[in-house]
């Protein structure tokens, strides 16, 4: 079946602009996660959803970052007033219920802020 789908695959934006990154999880997966992968920084947790609610937003680096999930499916990560340090690959993952926390990842969105 289809895997986790992320769009766009690449996004180039100017400093100060807002961007929206989209994640379409595997059908039936109730948990959805956003991570950020920066050069030399490994993977950094941002936010996670169980259904439409976000029990853990502790990883969001500033109030410029927000995310929502609707219908227990698609999620959007929004970065307002982008800064150069926001440049990274943003990865989305999803897990099925009772999946023993195995997470299935999308290919990511590479964000470049000029």
């Amino acid at each position: 079946g289809a895997g986790v789908s992320q769009s766009p695959s690449n996004k180039v934006t100017e400093k100060g602009k807002d961007v929206e990154l989209r994640c379409d999880p595997i059908s039936g997966h109730t948990a959805l996660y956003w991570y950020r992968q920066s050069l030399g920084q490994g993977l950094e947790f941002l936010i996670y959803f169980q259904g439409n609610s976000a029990p853990d937003k502790s990883g969001l680096p500033s109030d410029r970052f927000s995310a929502e999930r609707t219908g227990g499916s698609v999620s959007t990560l929004t970065i307002q007033r982008t800064q150069q340090e926001d440049s990274a690959v943003y990865l989305c993952a999803s897990s099925p219920p009772a999946g023993k926390n195995i997470q299935y990842f999308g290919a990511g969105t590479r964000l470049s802020v000029l």
């Binding site: 996660y33 920084q41 490994g42 993977l43 853990d56 195995i102 299935y104 990842f105």
Partner: protein
């Protein structure tokens, strides 16, 4: 707080030789442990997990990992490396709980298998 250490940024091994990618962890209670692999311009792919039971876990593509509670380690191994195994490998940990929770990842180890 949970943490994962991958002490080697880079591991080089000759094709056909055994490989080991090291991982140590710190977590309260009994951990869930994972290995993921990332090929260029791709997302992470699940390789294997340890939840409970046998300390030697077998996963995809001939990889295995050994859980060692006393040393808090979960090293990834393969008896005979292939050039196609060259990729970035991540170890991850989560606390067991009532469902899915975010993973804490190590910084990754780049494996190069030389023909």
């Amino acid at each position: 707080a949970q943490s994962v250490a991958q002490p080697e940024d880079q591991v080089n091994v000759a094709e056909g030789n055994p490989l080991t990618v090291k991982c140590t962890y710190s977590v309260s209670g009994n951990p869930y442990l994972f290995w993921y692999v990332q090929y260029p311009n791709r997302g992470l792919q699940f390789l294997l997990k340890y939840i409970t039971g046998d300390n030697l876990v077998k996963g995809s593509y001939g990889f295995e990992a050994e859980f060692n509670k006393s040393q808090t380690s979960f090293h990834l191994k393969k008896p005979s490396a292939l050039v196609s195994d060259s990729a970035l490998y991540f170890c991850a940990v989560s606390s067991p709980g009532t469902g899915n929770t975010p993973l804490v990842f190590g910084k990754g180890t780049r494996l190069s298998v030389i023909a």
